[in-house]
């Protein structure tokens, strides 16, 4: 079993850049990236097993924004404890707090600093591996 990341972002450029930041770990076989182009398809994907190990969730999306998706994820029993990391704008305190209060586990500011992001990803994967084996 590999660490799967579900990346939810409507912006193709953001998706490309995020995947690019995770490329080294993919190359190492440490994780796999799945993609959803908007909130609705993300929720659809989450309904059928297997569940991903982490959801990377953007906020600004059409039709269903990140907060709505997060609320749906948290209100479903299967996904209530699913780790979710929100993409936020750097100066937007309100968004960060709202994410926290809705149940996001962590947040990453845009624009991404690839190095920092990679380190974070590695930590998460390591922790996941430990849990899975122990």
């Amino acid at each position: 079993m590999t660490f799967t990341v579900l990346l939810v972002d409507d912006n193709p450029d953001h998706r490309f850049l995020t995947k690019r930041a995770l490329k080294p770990l993919e190359a190492e076989g440490k994780l796999r990236v799945l993609v959803a182009e908007d909130g609705e398809s993300a929720l659809q994907q989450l309904q059928s097993p297997p569940l991903p190990s982490l959801v990377l969730l953007d906020i600004k999306m059409p039709r269903k924004d990140g907060f709505e998706v997060l609320t749906s994820i948290r209100s479903s029993a299967q996904t209530a404890t699913l780790p979710v990391v929100m993409f936020t704008s750097s100066e937007n305190r309100t968004d960060i707090e709202r994410a926290r209060s809705l149940g996001a586990n962590d947040y990453v500011t845009k624009p991404l600093d690839p190095r920092t992001f990679q380190d974070k990803a590695r930590t998460l994967v390591a922790a996941w591996l430990e849990k899975a084996s122990g």
């Binding site: 450029d13 953001h14 850049l17 100066e91 624009p111 991404l112």
Partner: protein
């Protein structure tokens, strides 16, 4: 006290006993007296008979032939035999009647006497005289009993020889013997005695008493017997012999007029009485004792409860309502006690009710907005509602004279009003005066005075309810002032004179604020409901005509002449003045009316103008409010727009930056020389764009979000700003100077810091290339505002850019010098900040010299 009463109650009992005893006594007296009286009568009869008998015997002997013959013959022996025979013959129950019998010749010489002792006894003067009388009288005669010596009754009968007295036969009737004969008539303890007609005692059972031959003419029974005859033949008297009180019953012996008295000591007569007295005393004693006992019992039974009732009543009178008697029993005292308890309950209830209503009244008074107080007849303030102190001040004092609170000029009126109410007992209504507040402030009031009665028919005090009309007065004053102008006008034009002749002046204008008709008398312009006019319509027609034609119009209304003069100003009819009254007066008033009309027109114009002005002002205000609303809305919309734009712009920018970085990282080798430069430019522009967007965001946020307004220590705030930019100043060899003291201000601290930071930034950015940058900051307080100054020695701003400086995206071009960078938002942000802090920012600048910014802020704002 009750005992005294009880004792007194026995007095009638004693009196009755006394009366009873008395009555019994009387009864006994009568009974015994009568009985003894009968005895006395009987005795009297006996004596009569006794004496008569003796006399008859004597008589018979004297007339008998024996004695006559004897006398004629002078036969002494025969005489003696006759006398002796008589004496011995005359006897009663073996006792000789006569003490002695004697015969006398006609010369009075004793011839014979028997017993021999009689010869001496019967030859005294008395007997001699008696003989003489008998011979003279030629009749049998009884003679009074001699005063001294043995009591005898001399009797004489002449012995007659046909017609001539030859001698006298005399016999001394022995009363001693009589007394023995009387003895049986007296019962035990009774004393029977005999007195002669004069009251001298003749016979008494006690021989010693008889021997004394006392004069008892003055003892009651004798007196009575000798007096006129009466029903009662008994009388109480003091027995002269024993000294005892005795009851004497008496009878008269008819022929002799002697008195027989049957006497018995009252102690004997009323002996029965004594028994009765004893019984009565014993009974009385018992009864008194019983009464005393009863009264003691009653005292306990009645007096004690009564005392308790008295004490309870006293408590009640003193206001202690708690005591109740709760008596047991059915008797009247218990009933009284229960009635008392009921009464006490009622009183307690009423008092409670009174207390409740008093507290309601009190709270009413305390909450009433009128000033309520009470004044005693002597002028003392006896109560003042809390409102009084609140309105007038702490100098309101109960107990001080109420006039002290009244304005000096009004004190007489106040005193008069109080007096009137007290004297007449009637309320005085709407009395105007002024009350003195603190520091000479006055409150004009209209007061209702009402008399308050306690008991009695004079008012105990006066209740005053004062309605504060200070504000109304003020309004009235204003109105008065407003109308004084018109009055002046009318005075100057002599309209006063017109009014005295009873003329009516009416002013009508459809353009007056309320379209009302002003009716007036005496030149005072005042809305008067109907100044004696019931119907103004006749005048309106005239006024309308004048208005339409812009010319004076005349007419008649009833018997009155009317003149309507239009008030013209620049050909416009503002109103009409109508004059009505006596035709002559109207005519003479015409001359005055013309100048009056023009004056009034001026006045009217002014008031119309004022009214219009007010309207316009109101309209302006509402328009301004509208605009402000629109502006605010627009500004909010603008800020919203800026916010969303900046957010939307960020996303692609992030992508650009991301790809640029990606290019750099992954394809650096492929991009050589120019390619790398292109990339570099891309990145730089992206960064610039980011700054711009951030600044726009910042700008939008300044208007949208607010901090807490605080009291700011400006020296500290500027100090922090200085610290932040200190390195850059130092690196450039420059100086950041703050002139203390810097006045504090109330504003949003972070924003203010941002403002000064931006200005400091600019100072560095636009420094003069040839000298180190220097900033000087100072400030001052001006009334309720504070002004801060930020002066730099930079390159200054050319005049042609002054207008645009605070606009967004404006950057002053700097040809020939390094591009200082920046987004052009800094000053726009500064301006926005100044606006949100209710302040103003402006500057002076000269190209090449430097710039000075000025920030004007209100010293105080609502904190928080």
């Amino acid at each position: 006290m009750f005992l005294v009463f009880a004792l007194i109650a026995t007095l009638p009992l004693l009196a009755m006993s006394y009366l009873a005893l008395n009555a019994t006594r009387e009864a006994l007296k009568t009974e015994v007296g009568r009985a003894n009286g009968d005895a006395a009568e009987a005795a009297a009869g006996f004596v009569d008979v006794y004496v008569e008998n003796a006399r008859v015997l004597l008589d018979a002997e004297a007339r008998g032939p024996l004695l006559r013959d004897a006398m004629t013959e002078g036969d002494r022996a025969a005489m003696l035999a006759a006398v002796r025979g008589l004496r011995e013959r005359a006897a009663y129950q073996d006792t000789q009647l006569f003490r002695g019998v004697a015969l006398f010749d006609r010369n009075g010489t004793l011839l014979v006497a028997w017993p021999e002792s009689a010869a001496d006894q019967m030859t005294d003067l008395l007997h001699a005289a008696a003989v003489d009388v008998a011979i003279a009288q030629e009749q049998p005669t009884v003679f009074p009993v001699p005063r001294q010596g043995e009591p005898v009754l001399p009797m004489a009968t002449p012995v007659m020889d046909d017609t001539t007295p030859q001698g006298v036969l005399m016999g001394d009737l022995s009363l001693t013997a009589l007394s023995q004969g009387l003895a049986p008539f007296a019962a035990e303890r009774q004393t029977l005695f005999l007195t002669d007609s004069r009251g001298a005692l003749l016979v008494h059972p006690d021989a010693n008493v008889t021997a004394q031959r006392p004069d008892w003419s003055d003892i009651a029974p004798v007196v009575r017997a000798r007096g006129p005859p009466s029903e009662r033949n008994y009388v109480e008297y003091d027995d002269p012999v024993t000294g005892e009180r005795a009851l004497g019953s008496y009878a008269i012996i008819p022929r002799l007029s002697w008195v027989v008295v049957d006497s018995v000591p009252t102690s004997v007569a009323y002996g029965a009485l004594q028994q009765l007295t004893g019984v009565l005393i014993a009974l009385s004693g018992l009864l008194v004792g019983a009464i005393l006992l009863a009264s003691v019992a009653v005292a306990r039974r009645i007096v004690a409860p009564v005392q308790e009732l008295t004490a309870a009543s006293r408590d009640l009178a003193e206001g202690k309502l708690g005591r109740r008697l709760k008596p047991q029993g059915d008797d009247e005292i218990a009933e009284l006690g229960r009635a008392f308890d009921q009464m006490a309950d009622r009183i307690a209830e009423s008092l409670e009710g009174l207390r409740r209503s008093e507290s309601r009244y009190r709270s009413l008074v305390e909450s009433a907005s009128d000033l309520i107080f009470t004044v005693q007849p002597d002028g003392e303030l006896s109560f003042a509602s809390p409102m009084m102190r609140r309105v007038l001040g702490p100098h309101v004092r109960v107990g001080a004279p109420a006039v002290d609170l009244v304005h000096g000029d009004d004190r007489t009126a106040f005193r008069d009003a109080i007096e009137r109410v007290v004297e007449r007992g009637e309320p005085a209504l709407w009395i105007p005066f002024r009350l003195m507040g603190e520091a000479g402030a006055t409150r004009a009031v209209l007061t209702n005075f009402t008399p308050i009665y306690d008991a009695g028919d004079r008012p105990a005090r006066v209740l005053a309810v004062a309605h504060d009309v200070t504000e109304e007065r003020r309004q009235e004053d204003l109105r008065e002032k407003a109308f004084q102008m018109a009055r002046l006008v009318s005075e100057e034009t002599g309209l006063e004179a017109l009014s005295h002749r009873g003329l009516l002046l009416m002013l009508s204008s459809a353009q007056l604020p309320r379209g009302s008709v002003l009716l007036t008398r005496a030149g005072e312009l005042r809305p008067v409901a109907n100044a004696g006019i019931k119907d103004t319509s006749p005048y309106r027609e005239l006024a309308a005509r004048a208005r339409t034609n812009a010319q004076a119009a005349q007419g008649y209304v009833g018997s009155e002449a009317a003149l309507a003069v239009p008030l013209l100003e620049h050909g416009e009819v503002l109103g009409v003045v109508v004059l009505a009254g006596d035709p002559r007066a109207v005519e003479s008033a015409q001359a005055i009316l013309v100048p009056l009309a023009s004056q009034l027109a001026v006045g009217l114009r002014r008031s119309l103008f004022e009214a219009r002005l007010k309207e316009h002002a109101a309209e302006l205000e509402s328009r301004v409010a509208e605009r402000t609303r629109e502006l605010t809305q627009k500004s909010d919309e603008m800020e919203q727009f800026l916010y969303s734009v900046s957010h939307d712009l960020k996303a692609p920018l992030i992508s650009i930056q991301g790809y640029a970085q990606g290019l750099e990282e992954d394809y650096a080798s492929a991009l050589q020389g120019e390619g790398a430069q292109y990339l570099e430019r891309i990145r730089k522009n992206a960064t610039l764009m980011e700054s711009l967007i951030l600044d726009i965001l910042e700008l939008s946020r300044i208007g949208r979000t607010h901090e807490q307004v605080e009291e700011i220590d400006m020296e500290r705030l500027i100090g922090d700003v200085a610290a932040r930019v200190a390195d850059r100043f130092a690196a450039a060899g420059g100086e950041f100077r703050v002139d203390t003291p810097l006045p504090s201000v109330q504003a949003e601290p972070k924003r203010l810091a941002q403002l000064f930071a931006n200005l400091a930034d600019n100072a560095i950015k636009y420094r003069h290339p040839q000298r180190p940058p220097r900033i000087r900051i100072w400030g001052e307080t001006k009334a309720d505002r504070v002004v801060y100054h930020v002066e730099d020695n930079g390159r200054g701003i050319p005049a042609r850019y002054h207008d645009q400086l605070f606009k967004i995206f404006q950057r002053v071009p700097t040809p020939g010098m390094d591009d200082p960078g920046g987004t052009g938002m800094g000053l726009a942000i500064v301006k926005r900040i100044a606006e949100t802090q209710r302040g103003r920012i402006w500057f002076e600048s000269e190209e090449g010299e430097g710039t000075t910014f000025h920030l004007d802020l209100p010293r105080r704002r609502p904190l928080g």
